[in-house]
Symmetry: C2
Subunit: 327 residues, 2 copies
DNA sequence: CTTCATTTTGAGAGCGCTTTCAATTAGCGG
DNA sequence: CCGCTAATTGAAAGCGCTCTCAAAATGAAG
């Protein structure tokens, strides 16, 4: 089973290499019978064109990168990323793209990796998961001209392609849900430093306002998406006697749950709880958690699809928002 | 900032392209001053050789694949994989390799992906995470001749490079620890269908035997690494009145914990618990979990290093075992 | 049966780098 | 200084595929 080349196929089919190439790439203007003959030989021999040679000649690799900045263990441990990757992988498979992964651990790492990413030109494009530090390198991609899409709303640059879910609406729904349950002291364990968290908080605020409740700053605190931070933050909030909490991530919600329990209070009797993500952890919580569903996997799929379009031709900046639902 | 090529650098340095190539690849036999001059220009211009052209010419891409079979959400949600990936990524970064990810969702997917993986020859080698179904495609890699290393002990093929941690010892330590605590009815929530689980169970058995305890089949049951399965399985085991349990994964241990609580029993007073993995979830459990530490990240690092060696020259089959420790 | 516009093909020039192979230069002993 | 081996370089042939350009084949029109 030695390596076959275009020339081999060409010879077998009695045509020129160019013709075989055309057949493979589905060009028009090929006599049907020739196309068929070539096609037959290709399938019979199981020939696959060498992607590297192809890349060199066409200046396109079929490889896209997924850049995850800020990936200390804590962040990566949240099921959010695996789920996202799942979606991305699924989409790349379907589009016959190869996915390659870039986890930026340290800041050094970040700089070096991105530099090489850009300079080698191996990738056709990248998907970047937004992050508080996103602004430090997004401009580099823009300058360079490498197509990319952001997952998550960027802080500043409005004119770039990104895809996000409706965090504002999610926050709003969560808060509203709690309010409609008759709760008056609705707290929030948010997350600052990233737009997703900001938006969820904004949504929460708007809901309170729309329902005539006054914000109590003692009921608004932020964690960092870890279970531990949820626990810590909730402990503080408990002093302010909330009767409901909206937690901006299921993982944190688990911590929150523990804090509440330790305080001898019950969920949802004493304090009602709504999480965000709808990932497995939520379901497996002791009293199944009410949570705002976020279509993470779809987020990944769409990111790939968008990127694919960007690479192919040229689409204008697309701004997408996907709707969450209460469970 | 247009694309530079070897020729450009060569011209700037007043030497031939071949010489520049030699400098870049660190060949001997180059006059020091020439080497220096070329080097200077390279750093000044920030030139990076085009990896694709390089691959085509040298028949080596610098890309390695990570194949994760059986990646339905459940499996991928366990922090085990993210952690492993973290380690792998770190190592590939250091060795300037590019990592690309292949998640095999369905069986179709699996077949198709592997076929293309092998036929395109894009990858220099692959890391495969072992799995009950591993045997279905490992042979394909062997036949093909693509270098690969397995993470986890293979079921049959002894003559392939793999890297695993000492699951047997881990199981042994866990059981022994519980026995030394004075427990007599030590149960195990294991996992079947994969060698890691098998080995942990074997270790557990040996420990019981060595300490003169008789196995009670009602105390030996298997889950599938999910929290839910831990919960379900533990419920059954409870009927057999255990006074200790060794759970083969922290994630399952969380489920087990819940089952115990719901039965109105306390940990560790009524039932002592030891987990396996030492991943964040364990620490965040209500009473911090005692767990067998498994060096997952190192597993990834070593896998990459081994693969790198395999690709470079040729090492005989290496069989590695890394030691776990009780926490 | 020509003629001219098309449709189909093939030849061949790269893509940017690695790697012989041979030519050029240096280093040394005599 | 000359001859000879060893250290340095450069020229050029690919790697396997894409794509332009022009030639060859086909067909409609006259």
């Amino acid at each position: 089973m030695k390596k076959l080349t275009l020339d081999n196929i060409a010879e077998l089919a009695g045509v020129s290499r160019a013709t075989v190439s055309r057949v493979i790439n589905g060009y028009p203007h090929i006599k049907p019978d020739v196309r068929e003959r070539v096609q037959a030989i290709i399938t019979k021999t199981g020939f696959t064109p060498n992607p590297i040679a192809r890349s060199l000649a066409s200046d396109r690799s079929g490889i896209i990168g997924l850049v995850i900045p800020n990936s200390p263990r804590m962040v990566f441990t949240d099921p959010y990323f695996p789920t996202l990757i799942q979606g991305i992988s699924q989409a790349t498979n379907r589009l016959s793209l190869t996915l390659s992964l870039f986890l930026l651990a340290s800041t050094d790492d970040e700089d070096r990796t991105i530099r090489s990413l850009l300079s080698t030109g191996l990738l056709d494009g990248v998907i970047i998961t937004a992050d508080r530090r996103e602004d430090s390198f997004v401009p580099r991609f823009m300058d360079h001209g490498l197509p990319f899409v952001l997952i998550g709303r960027p802080e500043k640059n409005a004119d770039i392609t990104y895809i996000d879910c409706d965090n504002f609406a999610g926050g709003y729904m969560a808060a509203e849900h709690l309010i409609k349950l008759g709760r008056r002291r609705v707290a929030i364990v948010g997350s600052n430093g990233n737009t997703a968290g900001d938006d969820r908080i904004s949504g929460y605020r708007k809901a309170l306002q729309d329902h005539g409740l006054v914000e109590d700053t003692a009921l608004i605190m932020c964690g960092d998406f870890s279970m531990q931070s949820g626990y810590d933050v909730m402990k503080m909030i408990l002093h302010a006697k909330p009767d409901a909490v909206f937690v901006a991530s299921d993982t944190m919600a688990l911590g929150v749950l523990r804090a509440i329990r330790e305080a001898g209070l019950r969920v949802p009797d004493d304090i009602a709880l709504v999480g965000f993500d709808d990932l497995p952890p939520a379901l497996q919580a002791d009293p199944p958690l009410t949570t705002i569903r976020q279509p993470i996997e779809e987020l990944g799929v769409m990111a790939v699809e968008h990127l694919h379009k960007l690479i192919g031709k040229d689409a204008p900046k697309a701004v997408h928002t996907i709707l969450p639902t209460t469970l």
